[in-house]
Structure formats: C-alpha cells, structure tokens
C-alpha cells in the first residue's frame, strides 16, 4: 500500500491510498460532521451512501464534494470551513429538518438523536423552508421494534444492517423522490415479516424512526401494585453497559450499583440471569454429551439468542432439529421462578411478576412467544432493555454513580463466571466447553480460559481435546455470518461438533437494547473485556460448581435432562414462512 500526500485546510497530511477525505481529516483532528455515514470497522461495515450531503467540503478548483465517499488523490487540496462548505451543510440540514417532525421534547430518541446533535453542532436557529411533510403510519405491531417512518431521513443505515450485515432482508428503500422511505415488503406490519427483532436497525438509526417498543409503564404499574411480588433478573451484558448512561467510562462494571438501583425502584427480589445461564449450560452440556455419545445429530447449535432462533425458523426450516432444545437463560429463569421459587417462598405464582433487564429487543418478543408459558402464565412478564432501565433510573432520580454497591439476592442471584460471559460472543460456547470438559474428563478443569473463542470477530473456531475426543467448535456472531455457516452445514461441508450463534455483532454486549454506541465499536470491545474481567475474578468459573444450581437439581429438577427439566427448560421450534 502506498501513501498519498494531501492538504486539508492547508495542513499537510499523508495517508494510505484509498482513504476518504473524512478519515484523512480525522487524522489531523478535524471532525467533519456526518449523518448518513456509518463505519463499523470491526464488523467490516462501511456505509457511505453519501445521501445526506452533510459532510460536504470544498475541493480546490472543483467545488463541493462529499468527504465520506471521496477518496484522496495526490496533491488534493481540501477546505472544510469555507463559506461555501459551511453554507452547504446548513442548507442541507435545513432541508432535512423541513421534512422532519419537530417533536423532540417528546421523542424517544431525544438526547441520543444524531440529527438533533447536528442541529446543536451547527447552531441552526431557523428552518427557512416550508412545504409538504412526509407522513407514514406508525408501526407498533411487534413486541420489539417501533417504526415511525415520518422521522426517517433515508440514510439507509438500517437497510445495510438488515440486508448486508444480518442478511435478514426485511427493510428496503421503496418508492421514489419525496415519497421514498425505508419500508417492509408490501408495507406489511413488522410482526408479519421475517424480521428477527435483533434491533440492529434501531441500534444504528440516527433519528427516532426505529426504536424499541417500551414497557416501562407496565413495570412501573406492577412495582406500585401491593399485591404483586416483583422479581427482576439482569442479563450479563447489562451490567457492563448501564453505567454509560450515567457518564461512566465504557467497560465500567456497574453490577453493584445497578442492583441497589433496582432495589430502590422497588423490586422485591433482584436476581441474576447469569443463574439462568448456568442452568442453560447444565442442560445444554447434557444434551451435547448425549448427542456426542449416542450418535445424535451434530453439530449442536446454541439456542440462547431469540433472534437467531427466529432467523433459522424462517430461513432454515429444514434444519430445525440441530439447535439445542434448551430455552434461553431468560426463559429458564422465568420458568424456575414461577415453579420452584414460588413454592419455596410460598407465594402463588399468579401473584409473581418476572421482569427481565435485557440488552436486547428480541427478548421482548421471546417472552411473548406462546411456547414460553406455564399454566397460561408467561414465564417472563415484561422484558425491558438496558436503555429503558436507565430511563427508569433517571425518572426516579436515581443516579447510579452515587449508589452503594450491593449484592444479588439468593438463591437465584448466584452465578459463576461462566454464566456472566454469556453476554459476549463466544461466551456460551466457552461455558459449555468448560462444563463438558469437567464432566467427560471427570476431574476439575486446569485451564478454564479458551482465548481463541473470544473477541468481536464474526467467525471464530477452535479445537479442544476432551477425554480423548477432538471437539471442533465454531462461533459466529451477526446473522450474515451465521447464514454462511448454516449453508455449509446444509451442504454437509462443515464438521463442527458444537456451534454458538449470536445475532448481534459482538454478541449481547452489542445488542439492540444497549446504550447507543453511535458507530464506536471500541465501546463494544470494552464491554466485552469487562465481562471477562468479572469471569476472571469469579471464584467459581464452571457452571456445575454453582451451589444454587446444585441445590435446584437436588431439591427440584433431579438431573440435567430429567423429564422435569425437559418440561420446564426445553422448548420446540416451528417452521415459519420464508418471507
């Protein structure tokens, strides 16, 4: 690769050939404003439609060009702050805003909106243009994702996530000219499409066009209902992200503060989804070993991720027998609360409300699935996202930074390091391998760290020898990567024993319900590292060593894979329409 010398605002800069003006400017500390552009370097996504025209700069002798989509050439001279460039940016922003609802005060996205920030950055005080406004019906059909396309600015980031990264293929630009908008096929409600509710569209939407469906009001209602015993479970990935909403550094472990915050909100018991994760490991390991020893269908695929489950139900209905039949940690946890725990504390399960705090929007849909009911009760009543929990804290005047660190309640708050790393891509597999190794080798594991399976890469693999058997394991995050793997399996070209798949790039730490990363994947890296730090510090790092889990099997479930366990902790999958 050769380098190229250019000048930006008369400052010389040398960059690799192929670099865009935007990147070159960043190198010398000039941050040109952008809106439609999205660069998720770690996931090999560079979305530069140059459709918003906000990043225009003046090229000497040529006039205005978009800096996000123009590569540098030798001798190029660019000016970012000329009268012409500044005016162009303002006019473009005014035009976008002339067709944008100005309900910022009551918009879900307020405070996190990139369009709003841009208005602040350019100090726009007046929108001179008036005219017709785009009007599109609201889509609140699903449990997970709300669409208000009147707020769409046609940056088409969501399309890139849905089609290129996730290969789900639900969102597409439709119509033309003023009527152009990102829409579902045939303008169907999202609920009636093959959407997996991964929420990656909402995670990158710069405005309030795509948002999570909120269930905060329901949670407030049950918290204030004296007849309800409200139990909360917090997913592994939430504890390393919630702090960001209160000004903590990305990667801050805020478990203790989150627990005390939840108590102050009025939850009767604060438990850990990592307990459910440890339980999942027990069941999944049992299923894996059974298939391994008895010539069952391999590879076994993890089934913790609801988006992934819906994805294969739509796209690979011929492979419904390969995923593990285990429910996700969220659902296992709910099932145990409404049976075992309800009996233990002597409360009618109908009076218990299970709320889950999840990094995910699909968990809302998962909780509402018909399969996930016990005696006509949903195992999990309300699933709210990390962001929603942050909003509830804010509303209740709870500042996490000023809270003492508290501990989870017992017994369903006990977890091992293996249960915590579920939140990062590779974690479920590592936890299962640790457990399988202990069971098959019949001795405590010496080295519990499987470094090869960690990190944000979309595809990772490893081979470990357990009890004389070489186990080949694959890990994939992002549904596009999962599709490639599944196609190999369909063609019988892959010889893995076990595969973990998570729908979101990076795993749950990058979920659609997490605080917005605004394209900065370094934040995801830090969240992931924080989870492995918790694991490293844990006294117990193999799920089968969780005392509360042992007690649960002794008192209630008998053994992993028992008929009781199957009844409560396992599920079935169904074929769904290809479109």
């Amino acid at each position: 690769m050769y380098t190229i010398k250019i000048k930006i605002n008369d400052i010389p800069v040398e960059v690799e050939a192929g670099t865009t003006i935007l990147r070159a400017a960043e190198k010398i500390g000039i941050k040109i404003p952008t809106l439609c552009h999205l660069n998720l370097h770690d996931f090999k996504v560079d979305h530069t439609p140059a459709s918003c025209r906000v990043c225009q700069v003046e090229l000497k002798g040529k006039g205005l060009i978009t800096s996000c989509a123009t590569s540098v050439y030798e001798g190029m001279e660019v000016f970012t702050n000329t009268q012409k460039a500044l005016r162009a940016r303002r006019v473009v922003l005014e035009m976008i805003l002339s067709d944008h609802p100005k309900d910022c005060l009551v918009c879900d996205k307020s405070g996190n909106c990139e369009l709003q920030s841009l208005g602040e950055q350019l100090h726009l005080r007046n929108v001179r243009f008036k005219g017709r406004m785009s009007k599109h019906p609201l889509d609140f059909s699903s449990q997970s994702i709300a669409r208000d396309m009147s707020k769409c600015i046609m940056c088409r980031r969501c399309e890139t996530m849905c089609n290129t990264v996730q290969t789900v293929g639900v969102l597409s630009n439709t119509g033309r000219g003023f009527d152009a908008v990102v829409d579902t096929p045939m303008h169907r409600p999202l609920q009636d499409t093959k959407c997996t509710f991964c929420g990656q569209c909402a995670a990158v939407c710069p405005t309030g066009a795509l948002m999570g469906i909120e269930h905060m009001a329901d949670v407030w209602r049950v918290l204030n209902d004296k007849n309800k015993f409200v139990v909360v479970q917090t997913a592994p990935a939430t504890r390393v992200a919630i702090g960001e909403m209160f000004g903590m550094e990305p990667g801050t472990i805020a478990t203790g503060q989150m627990i005390s915050g939840l108590r102050r909100l009025g939850f009767d018991r604060v438990f850990d989804t990592s307990f459910g994760a440890d339980l999942t490991v027990m069941e999944e390991t049992k299923e894996f070993i059974d298939r391994l020893n008895n010539g069952g269908r391999l590879p076994i695929l993890t089934s913790c991720c609801p988006s992934w489950v819906k994805f294969f139900e739509h796209q690979f209905p011929d492979l419904l027998d390969i995923p593990s039949s285990c429910k996700s940690p969220q659902q296992m946890f709910g099932a145990i609360v409404k049976t075992f725990y309800a009996k233990k504390i002597g409360i009618n399960p109908k009076d218990i409300v299970v709320v889950s705090i999840m990094p995910c929007l699909a968990k809302k849909y998962e909780a509402a699935r018909d399969e996930h009911q016990i005696e006509n009760m949903h195992e999990v009543d309300y699933s709210i996202s990390t962001r929603e929990l942050g909003f509830m804290f804010e509303e209740a005047c709870i500042d996490l930074t000023h809270l003492p660190k508290e501990k989870y309640d017992n017994p369903l708050g006990e977890s091992t390091g293996a249960g915590v790393i579920f939140g990062s891509s590779g974690g479920v597999l590592e936890a299962t391998l640790r457990n399988a190794a202990e069971i098959l080798d019949k001795k405590p594991l010496q080295n519990v760290d499987f470094h090869e399976v960690r990190g944000l890469d979309g595809f990772k693999e490893t081979e470990v020898e357990i009890n004389g058997i070489k186990i080949k394991a694959g890990i994939s995050c992002g549904l596009g990567n999962a599709r490639k793997l599944l196609e190999k399996i369909r063609k019988k070209e892959a010889d893995y024993h076990i595969i973990e798949i998570m729908a979101c790039p990076g795993g749950c730490i990058g979920g659609g319900g997490q605080p917005f990363h605004h394209g900065n994947t370094e934040i995801l890296q830090k969240r992931s590292e924080a989870l492995y730090r918790i694991d490293k510090k844990s006294k117990k790092r193999v799920s089968s060593n969780n005392e509360a889990i042992k007690a649960l099997y002794d008192e209630f479930l008998d053994n992993p894979g028992s008929s009781k366990a199957h009844q409560l902790l396992h599920t079935i999958y169904r074929k769904r329409n290809k479109e």
Partner: protein
C-alpha cells in the same frame, strides 16, 4: 396458485421458463440481481401487473429478498401492483407534452372514462396513467394506448381514441 387472482399455471410456466434462460442454480448473486429488471419486465408483460404473489414467486425463483423486489417495483413508475385495463391509456406529461396541452387531454380522458389518473374502469377495460416522455416530443402531446402512439393529440381527439379501442383497433 392464488385464490384471488386465478392466474393460470401456464402464465407461471411461461415466466419460469423465461427466468431459466437468465439464471441457473450456479448463478452468482450479481447475476441473479442483474436479472431482476428483465424478469419483472417480462412478468408485467405476462400478467399485466405485479401483485404480491408474483413478487413472492420471483423472490423464490431468483433467491432475492422480497423487500428488495418490492423496492424495485415501487421505484420504477413503469411497474404497477394494481391490475391494468385491457386498454392502458398513458398520457405523456413530459415537458414538451405538458406545454402543448397534455393536462387538458388528461382531464378530458378522465371525464370521458369517469376515472382519475392511476385508476382503472369497472370490468378492467380502461386504465389511465401518465408517463414522463416517450421520446417523441416532435409529436407532442402524445398519448399511448398499449403499444400504439397517438401524436398531436387534442381534447377533441379523445372520443376517437376511445372509439378505436371499442372497435378493437388497439389490440
């Protein structure tokens, strides 16, 4: 195939055999995507319009997401998802035709047929649309009925155009 539309299988067969001339199982994604426009064009020629079920059929055959196909169909004004009349009347409203009085011709057609632009008469006999420039600006204003071109059209010519249709001159 479809309960509502009653397309016979022959039409589907004909579309399928056309698709097989363009793509096969070994075709690359780019080849399949490149074939989308000609396939949609052919499908509209065969069926007259592109309802949901035909787009789904094409999605399955070309292994392209339905959303992408829907995006293309809604982008090009040539494609329509509504059934068209036996006589598809299109008034050119490109710059030249517009200046030479296309608007008046359109209004007269609309009055005579009792339908607005973008609509179809009962019994699916006539449909009325506008289009942008057929490249015959010397003949402005231009009206097209199916594949036949009428040039230098005035309001008063409208009854004659419709009479041609009735007499089967435009089939």
């Amino acid at each position: 195939m479809c309960n509502n539309c009653n397309f016979n299988n022959l039409k589907y067969d004909s579309l399928e055999s056309y698709i097989s001339t363009l793509v096969s199982n070994s075709s690359s994604t780019t080849e399949r995507q490149a074939s989308l426009l000609p396939v949609l064009y052919k499908a509209q020629e065969i069926f007259g319009f592109l309802p949901e079920e035909i787009q789904e059929f094409i999605a399955a055959k070309l292994n392209i997401h339905l959303s992408e196909i829907y995006g293309v169909v809604t982008f090009y004004s040539y494609f329509t998802m509504k059934p068209q009349g036996k006589y598809r009347i299109s008034v050119c409203t490109g710059t030249a035709c517009y200046i030479k009085g296309a608007e008046k011709v359109l209004k007269r057609l609309s009055n005579e047929l009792g339908i607005d632009e973008g609509e179809v008469t009962k019994g699916l006999t006539y449909s009325l649309d506008t289009l942008r420039c057929v490249g015959a600006c010397g003949l402005a204003p231009v009206v097209m009925v199916n594949d036949k071109v009428y040039g230098n059209v005035t309001e008063d010519m409208v009854p004659r155009i419709l009479k041609d249709c009735k007499e089967g001159k435009n089939e």
